[in-house]
């Protein structure tokens, strides 16, 4: 990790120096190791560019605005394998301009979740040293250790791919996707429940929603100029949820709007301050699409036709929903 961080900074400097790019989109160091912030850098500020096991955030969405503002030269962006899918999807939807971006793919072996570290009872974290397998954690209450695998970001425990699907060059050592769990196991577990159990589960989760819109605003697929939920003319606009219905409405429609476009980058769940497993909504759609319309991975191929703007003559009838399931 340390080595990759070094490579990244070196490469950013070189590309800035030789004029390949005019600015760099990466992660800026914070007060603690885990609080890195996405940031644009130039020659003067590049010093604070970092890369660590806490660079979970997906930078691709920032390119929408950046591409619009970029008049000359290219933007260097560091993308992890899963981020490249989002990048491709944005290309498909004409939201970003490939010509204006220089993609440096960064190999990744899974990013860490400070919340999971704290859930182990490790408080007051001031520094985390990633040894590859285990972590050395410095806290104001003394030193602690834990296994790396215990505190992976949720999205990294079910990593969909270690392949970089788009890049101009690659840095770091390719990681194996060996320990990743079945991406759809949690969805399948929910499907196996009775209707009432599922209702209780989602009622419990969604009622935590405070409608901060972090899930929406971080989502690379949710990049509408104006979201229907912010548009008073849309008939469904709402702010804080005043009724449990509004929570469901917001999350169902959001999941529906990104269905077939969601690359399963997992950012929605990562950023939810209330810890709602929002990815399980999106993954349900992905699972359904795979099962009913054939395997499809959004963002795997730029320009591919999303399943919900596509059809075949012999698609399953909606009654298939009635026919399957156990309850």
């Amino acid at each position: 990790m340390q080595k990759t961080a070094g490579l990244i900074k070196k490469r950013a400097l070189e590309l800035l120096a030789d004029g390949t790019v005019t600015k760099v989109l990466g992660w800026e160091e914070g007060d603690f190791i885990y609080d890195v912030t996405p940031a644009f850098f130039d020659k003067e500020t590049i010093d604070s560019l970092v890369f660590s096991s806490f660079c979970g955030s997906n930078l691709s969405k920032y390119l929408i605005k950046a591409c619009k503002e970029q008049t000359e030269g290219k933007i260097l962006v560091f993308l992890k394998p899963c981020d490249t899918f989002s990048f491709n999807q944005l290309l498909t939807e004409h939201r970003i301009d490939r010509e204006k971006v220089y993609v440096v793919g960064v190999e990744c072996k899974g990013m860490l979740d400070i919340e999971k570290i704290k859930a182990l009872g490790i408080n007051g974290v001031t520094k985390v040293i990633d040894n590859g397998e285990s972590l050395n954690i410095k806290t104001i209450y003394g030193e602690k250790t834990c296994e790396r695998s215990e505190v992976l970001l949720e999205k990294c425990t079910t990593c969909k791919s270690k392949e970089l699907v788009v890049f101009d060059e690659v840095l770091g050592e390719k990681a194996e996707n060996e320990n990743s769990q079945d991406r759809f196991a949690q969805v399948a577990a929910l499907e196996a429940m009775t209707t009432e159990e599922r209702y209780a589960f989602w009622q419990g989760e969604l009622s935590k929603c405070i409608r901060c819109n972090a899930c929406r605003n971080v989502c690379p697929a949710c990049s509408c100029m104006k979201c229907v939920f912010d548009n008073i003319q849309s008939g469904v606009a709402s702010k804080s949820n005043a009724d449990t219905f509004e929570e469901k409405m917001f999350h169902i429609i959001r999941a529906f709007h990104v269905a077939g476009r969601c690359t399963d980058c997992g950012e929605c769940s990562r950023v939810c301050p209330q810890g709602i497993p929002l990815h399980l909504l999106n993954r349900k759609f992905i699972k359904d699409i795979n099962e009913l319309y054939g395997d499809y991975q959004a963002g795997e191929e730029a320009g591919s036709r999303a399943p919900l703007v596509n059809f075949t003559f012999d698609d399953a009838e909606p009654s298939v929903i009635h026919e399957r399931g156990n309850s």
Binding site: G30, F32, K208, I210, V218
Partner: protein, 341 residues
Amino acid sequence: MYYIEKAKLSELFSKIAENRSLYLPVKKNGQTNFAHWEEGTEYCDDLKTVKSAKDHFFPQTESLMHFKTEGKKIQINQDKIPDEKTVLFGVRGCDAKSFKILDSVFMSEPQDAFYTARRENSVVITTACSSPDEACFCGVFGVDPADPKADSDVVTWFAGDKLYWEAVSEKGEALTEEIKDVLSSSDEKEVEEEKARISEITKLLPLNNMSLSAFGGDKTDALFNAPQWDKLSEACLGCGSCTFVCPTCQCYDVRDYNGANGIQRYRCWDSCMFSDFTMMAHGTNRPTQKQRFRQRFMHKLVYFPANNNGEFSCVGCGRCVARCPISMNIAKVIKSFGGDK
């Protein structure tokens, strides 16, 4: 000073709950938040609730009135002012201070009837913050996590196997009187030790020594056009997680909902970070995320003190530090204006 054995906490809670509704930190779905206590509810000693205690006085949504049409006539019904007698237990010092800040907004003229009623009907029991987190910086705003007397009715400490109890206001005295049966008298020895321990820990907190000298009611001109805002705001997603977990953010929107029972007028939290905040027919007065971002921090560190005798609208609870999806927060803002010197 009184005490009760930790093992007998539930006795204390049921005693309090005899005449009042008790709210305290409860862990549910992996998260600790304030919740209504009932027989069997398990108290969670993790005081760092995800959402702040402000929800208790200023809920996320609140119905204000209803309109009903009958033919072409309209009938207006005011919603009932809440009259539930409540007790909040396990409030951190920082959160307790936030109530004072909210008071100066909602209880100054024109008074907010809903907020005021809830506030007046409640007793705040603070608990000394036994394990501050690395992101805590309440000291910067004058909160003493070891002895949060300033803004509470009763202060409590967990020390050894006891909970120590000290009433510090009339309301607190009255409550203590009501429940005295379950309490025993005590000296302050263990409490003093605990206070000292906490004070030692707070010295280690990396953000607790930031300086606010760059901020204050008179700093509008100096800060408004500062170049730092560009960099600080550039990654901001414009979500409202910081505002919604913040104990002092108090913006709300008033909306009408046209349902089957006529129209409900309700208020709900709003966030100055949202692109549709204070949206008007002509558009918004802060069209860029930089403007919105600047507004939030200028309000907390400049405009609010300008209108409230120098009081900052932040209590250093650290929630925004923990919750911001992109790890941008008020601490970074303070530091970028020289606060780390």
